[in-house]
Subunit: 342 residues, 2 copies
DNA sequence: TTGAAAGCGCTAACAT
DNA sequence: ATGTTAGCGCTTTCAA
């Protein structure tokens, strides 16, 4: 027979209400009774049923996480950060990806309606109106991560792509480069847009106009980096440095450089963005912008829990932009700081 | 006001019992009433509360997943496979890592006792007796994945490390190599042990004794692969091929080869194991053994759900060993099949 | 084919 | 400081 609150109450010679109180609100119960109840509960190996408690309190001690995909180290890092914080706070984490078959909204609505979670962390790289509409209506708290910033009335934790890009470019400028090109990410991607803005502004701020021909587009994939690099180096007037919007494309660029016999950083300086694991293995090691992915997840959890507990007002918008950090490798010309991964 | 079963019953002019039956057991309700109830439920946007249902039925439609870590593409792949299948079966997934602070058993027990999940998928690379003890006692079904196979009385889904290693080595033999070395993984790691066994048996089966000096140890990390490679190449009598127990160490070996000026595959043939993303980016692309990680997760879910539903006997041991598949790159000497990743 | 009512295990308002 | 009791929203016998 499963031990429940009744068994404990009986053994302790008190009512179930007292047991409940002893376990939840320490002040309302005489210390003597309390400790006896605790002891008996332990003896019986009694654990209150979170389901029953949930039915009564409308809480689940569980948060939902909806990610666009469950592939690659990036999402793993997010989950890692979330798990770590949730664990510290004694919360459980339900993970779901917005499966191709159905819309992300469906997942979201079902999560919410089902009462399985007290709140949700949502990553929606491109925000449809449908999602946005739902978000504003939702009763339960939602925290956006790494989502476009045009949703001003939401709680949103983001990476500072803009300033990160500015720093990348200014680092190249500090190396004396004046002909700086960019390999952009996909036009519809918010990260890519912000990084592009940072690139432009950094140039202007330093009185270095950007050349149309020095702006080529990629799709964040390796191959596109390869082709973009070749396109840039085939021009009559070549850039002396390239800001590549993400590390994957930088890998492609390295490969292209090898093909063309172009030396990094002697012939051309390169800075990437994301600080993926692979970037450490490139030769020379890629200079790139570290983005605090797992910290993003961790912060989102903490804020969400505050929304749930009422410590912060869930209806109020909040935005936090996490700083990135330049990781120096050998690709930008900082030769002294090049370190092999071995 | 939240719409619950009472509201629906009222609007439909029936009792809540009928509503419940209409939604769950289609046979027991007159078709006419049933469709009316369904329609009204839809109109009211009624979704039964899984919490309330859970309290009554002792089920949660949720499975727990406990992984040793939440880092890297490997675990992400597992989660991906699990999520995909769970979604198809309309189940939710609670993820947790065995956080350093507390034992994996604690996580497991709490999961089970709390009644939050109907069953658990557990990955425990090295199995303590404590865990094993608990496993046999547990009331709720547990499926082991990628865990050591000495737990014969459990349900266990594994990768066929042994046959995979045999295939790797035999592939090298087919290339005419006769002096085959191995870079082993950590001694306490089951995967490493099984791969080592496969290596030995493949040699013996083909009348190629193994040399003690051709067996060096690594720890599955890049650096150890680097040093192991150098150790092998520094011997007076050099191997003509190396079976490297995992791809990470192969990366280190590549780096060492570059340092030593050793050409792959001309001077030495190499085969790795795991088929990690990175292996495609090596030059020449690494010949390696693909392991069906996400499939492992998927199969585990399917079996677990059958245990939960009673379709299979949870008390009965079951073991399934998933086949690996050789991915040909250029490192083994199969020059014709070398393809750049671009 | 349907309804009434007793749980499931807990919390929380009300009473003492 | 503790007990009584009415839910929470559903499933599931037992009756009708």
């Amino acid at each position: 027979m499963k031990t429940n609150i009744n068994i404990v109450a009986e053994k302790a010679g008190v009512s179930i209400a007292t047991v409940s109180r002893a376990l939840n609100e320490r002040e309302l119960v005489k210390e003597e009774t309390r400790s006896r109840i605790i002891r008996i509960a332990k003896e019986l190996n009694y654990k209150p049923s979170p389901i029953a408690r949930g039915l009564s309190t409308k809480t689940t001690d569980t948060i939902g996480v909806i990610l666009p995909d469950l592939v690659g180290e990036f999402f793993m890092d997010i989950i890692h950060g979330i798990d770590e914080e949730a664990y510290k706070a004694n919360r459980y984490v339900i993970i779901s990806s917005s499966h191709s078959q159905r819309d992300i909204v469906e997942t979201l609505i079902e999560f919410m309606a089902s009462g399985r979670v007290d709140g949700v962390i949502l990553m929606a790289p491109q925000m449809h109106k449908k999602v946005a509409d739902f978000l504003t209506k939702s009763k339960r708290p939602i925290v956006l991560i790494n989502s476009c910033s045009d949703l001003t009335d939401m709680v949103n934790f983001q990476i500072d792509n803009y300033l990160g890009a500015v720093s990348c470019v200014e680092h190249l400028i500090r190396h004396g480069n004046k002909e700086i090109a960019i390999i952009k990410g996909p036009a519809e991607n918010c990260d890519a847009q912000e990084r592009y803005s940072g690139f432009l502004d950094a140039l202007h701020k330093n009185n270095l106009g950007s050349k149309r021909s020095f702006e080529v587009s990629g799709d964040f994939g390796i191959k596109s980096g390869y082709h973009a690099f070749i396109e840039l180096m085939n021009q009559s007037r070549k850039p002396d440095a390239i800001f590549i919007s993400n590390d994957m494309m930088a890998i492609g660029a390295y490969e292209a450089a090898k093909t063309l016999g172009v030396k990094i950083p002697q012939d051309i300086a390169i800075v990437g963005f994301d600080d993926i694991y692979l970037s450490k293995l490139l030769n020379p090691r890629l200079t790139t912008m570290h983005v605090p992915i797992s910290e993003l997840g961790a912060k989102a959890v903490n804020y969400l829990l505050k929304m749930i507990s009422g410590e912060v007002d869930s209806t109020k918008a909040y935005k936090e932009v996490l700083s990135t950090k330049l990781v120096i490798g050998g690709s930008c010309g900082c030769s002294n700081s090049y370190q092999s991964f071995i």
